[in-house]
Subunit: 459 residues, 2 copies
């Protein structure tokens, strides 16, 4: 098998110019070809969704997910496989029901939001006040919603990028707190969804509003709007229960492929192992787990081990928060040796745009990587990476460079955080395109001397 | 306002040939134009789904639906508005839950099938046996499924006509009885659905199999297949309850637009008022109720009342059976005066094909009707009508002619009998196309001397 140059000799080669870049371009092409023929990502995704399914922190499933992660990384040949424990607050769903009792009795389809309070035992019944937007609710004075169930029916725009969700999620994040401040006894929000199914989409809130809060399915929100248009007072009964675990146990599951000449230099890639509870967490984020794991493996075994260490991290509490912070805290001493940290966490649809770390475009290793992008229909952006993903936020704060491989989100919010987040929604060919981009990027990053901290400050 | 010729003078005109046909063609065109501009069908559909919602026989909602029907027909100017009571057996859903307990614990999304038995209190737990088809299950000898939960994961083919459902529904109809005969303690079937949402689709069974029986959502059926492929025994817990009401009250709600010269001759059109419980019965069959009601109204008021009486019937127990039989029984004495009985019961998507009563194609009234079909992209079939709809089955048996306006069913089974059967799934423009076909047909039938009993036997 062809041996690729190690980082040490690469450093020498790079000084002399194009030879190393040509070799790295060849490596990138090899990785792309290997990725498009590899089924590991699909197999990992299928395994996690079938053998574990939903895996919320605070439930026994997160333990099974951790055990699954350790077993899977071990089976795939990773080294130093281990779980790094941490605790985080967890909200665990209990029974939930909602119905209009007057003037038109109908059951509603709801899902409590993370951080929701329970209703009193036996439920609560109150009059509904509808708002077409968060702004309309916020225009109400203090006390104006006293004793009412406040509902926001604002719709979400379908967009390719994060814009639709970025704007759409605000009523879910802060609506309940805003309603509670004005005296509301409960809060409902139209699901932050681009689909029209009767399945509601859950998600977290910023803090705990102290009142019951749930997402309505899109057709249910439209139903309430039509009822409200008739002008009669709407009375609703709501019965929700949940528990909060202040210090729930979770784990960041780690595996490595040790580098040859610079094993102390680490390139991190990951996804998050936890998921919301209604679906099986296929797009959010078994797909990311699958892409990251398969990409690190391929980048390490295709053409012999690279110079630097590849590390997969399966973060253990993204949805409810805490895993990225725990990881950054535990690794604050070695953050300086982390070359880059990347996370795949927007499903399994294709990457349409690559944003590399600042200044990296001119580095020969990145130019080598870029040679595979046109074939994969990936736009190479002039804009530098600035996100990275929730779980690498902490590392980014510690100075670790990140990369953004922007996935097409057009279809993602049809499924996100709902019972519809299941394996059948992932297209294996699109998953492979992700794998090709990540595997090639990891390879050239791990097998060159590229230092994104330096490219970021280069003149 | 222009007065159209009455049936009496039409009979005279028809003898002389083309003049009456031309007038009827003009009426058909007027009705088509009026229908495409009329919002009554949408308004009726919106009203029933918003103000009543799901309306199963055996629940209080069927009473509200009956009251709604009487009020709506009265408001729309119908005469002789009344409800004809009858009783039918009803199955009423209680709480339902299913989960895999080993080897991979996961909750499953199910909906009990009409006629299902309850599990013992506290539920039952048993090993699962999967079959890819009904035939595979039927190949098992007696006793082979003793103590097991039998599951059929057979998929449904999407088709434009009824073929996909016709074949697909058989495992749901008889699978539980076939499983029970072989000793199974419960039965699950992949939803008879063409969609991939996590929402299961319910429906009736032929008879009562004596064991709990439910539909799995499509992704859940696929999940069980993937689990089964791993070769470990699958244990499932099932907890279902329901009640059977031997003689539940329902009503066929009736309204008429009396004819001028031949009021004793009646043209019947309808849909069914009852629905399954998970959705709001928008496509099944508030759409049919809406189309029939709006069409009869338009046919009666556009250009003055026609010669014959137009009667709308909102049948009150199609899903669980009994309304068509009750209607035919109550009207067996006057069946001879019923010129035709039609039912719209395949949603709100477009009519793609018209099949007229046998021999009717050559009648000038039907030729007049046919002039509007090309513009509406309706194929005029040479095949005669042979279905009519479940609720006119009894009348058909009593010799009443029927008509088939075949709707495009391609999308219908994405939604049918599931929580996704909601108003937002109906396209108002497609609903209007249905209205145009029915309104024009009702008009020329009610305002001519066409006698489908005679055309059927003409040489």
């Amino acid at each position: 098998m062809k041996k690729f140059p190690t980082a040490t000799c690469l450093a020498a080669l790079l000084i002399s110019g194009s030879a190393a870049a040509a070799d790295l371009a060849q490596e990138a092409r090899s990785l792309k070809a290997a990725a498009l023929a590899d089924t590991t990502a699909w197999d990992v995704l299928e395994s996690l969704t079938t053998e574990v399914g939903p895996r919320s922190v605070g439930t026994p499933a997160i333990v099974r997910a951790k055990d699954w992660g350790i077993a899977k990384l071990t089976t795939l040949g990773f080294e130093n496989v281990h779980a790094e424990p941490f605790t985080a607050q967890a909200w665990v769903r209990g029974p939930e029901a909602a119905e209009v009792v007057a003037p038109y009795p109908q059951k509603l389809s709801i899902l409590g939001l993370g951080g929701s309070a329970s209703t009193p035992v036996g439920g609560l019944e109150a009059e509904v006040v509808l708002f077409r937007s968060l702004q309309d609710l916020q225009a109400q004075p203090d006390g104006a919603l006293k004793g009412k169930i406040a509902v926001i029916t604002q719709a979400m725009r379908r967009t390719q990028g994060p814009d639709g969700y970025g704007a759409g999620v605000v009523p879910r994040s802060i609506g309940a707190a805003e309603a509670a401040r004005r005296g509301a006894v409960a809060f409902l929000v139209r699901s932050i969804s681009t689909d029209d199914t009767r399945l509601p989409h859950t998600g977290a809130m910023r803090g705990s509003p102290g009142i019951p809060a749930a997402a309505l399915s899109v057709p249910d929100a439209q139903l309430l709007e039509r009822m409200a248009a008739r002008g009669l007072p709407i009375r609703m009964r709501l019965n929700m229960s949940s528990t909060v675990i202040a210090q729930a146990q979770s784990w960041n599951v780690v595996g490595e492929m040790k580098g040859t000449t610079h094993p102390e230099d680490v390139v991190i890639v990951g996804g998050h192992l936890d998921s919301w509870d209604p679906g099986t967490g296929a797009i959010d984020d078994a797909s990311g787990i699958a892409i990251a794991t398969a990409a690190a493996r391929l980048a390490a075994i295709t053409g012999g081990r690279p110079a630097r260490t590849l590390r997969v991290v399966m973060w253990g509490s993204e949805e409810q928060g805490g895993s990225g912070e725990a990881y950054a805290l535990a690794h604050r001493q070695d953050a300086g040796r982390i070359i880059l940290a990347g996370e795949s966490d927007l499903g399994g649809d294709e990457i349409w745009r690559a944003r590399l770390p600042k200044g990296a475009l001119s580095h020969p290793a990145m130019q080598a990587f870029a040679t595979i992008l046109p074939d994969l229909k990936v736009v190479l952006s002039r804009e530098p990476a600035d996100e990275g993903g929730s779980d690498v936020e902490g590392l980014k704060g510690a100075g670790v460079p990140v990369v953004d491989f922007d996935q097409d989100a057009s279809r993602y919010f049809d499924l996100h955080h709902s019972a519809d987040d299941t394996l059948d929604k992932v297209d294996p060919r699109k998953l492979s395109q992700n794998l090709a981009v990540w595997a090639a990027f990891l390879r050239v990053t791990a097998n060159s001397d590229v230092d994104f901290r330096k490219t970021a400050v280069a003149p």
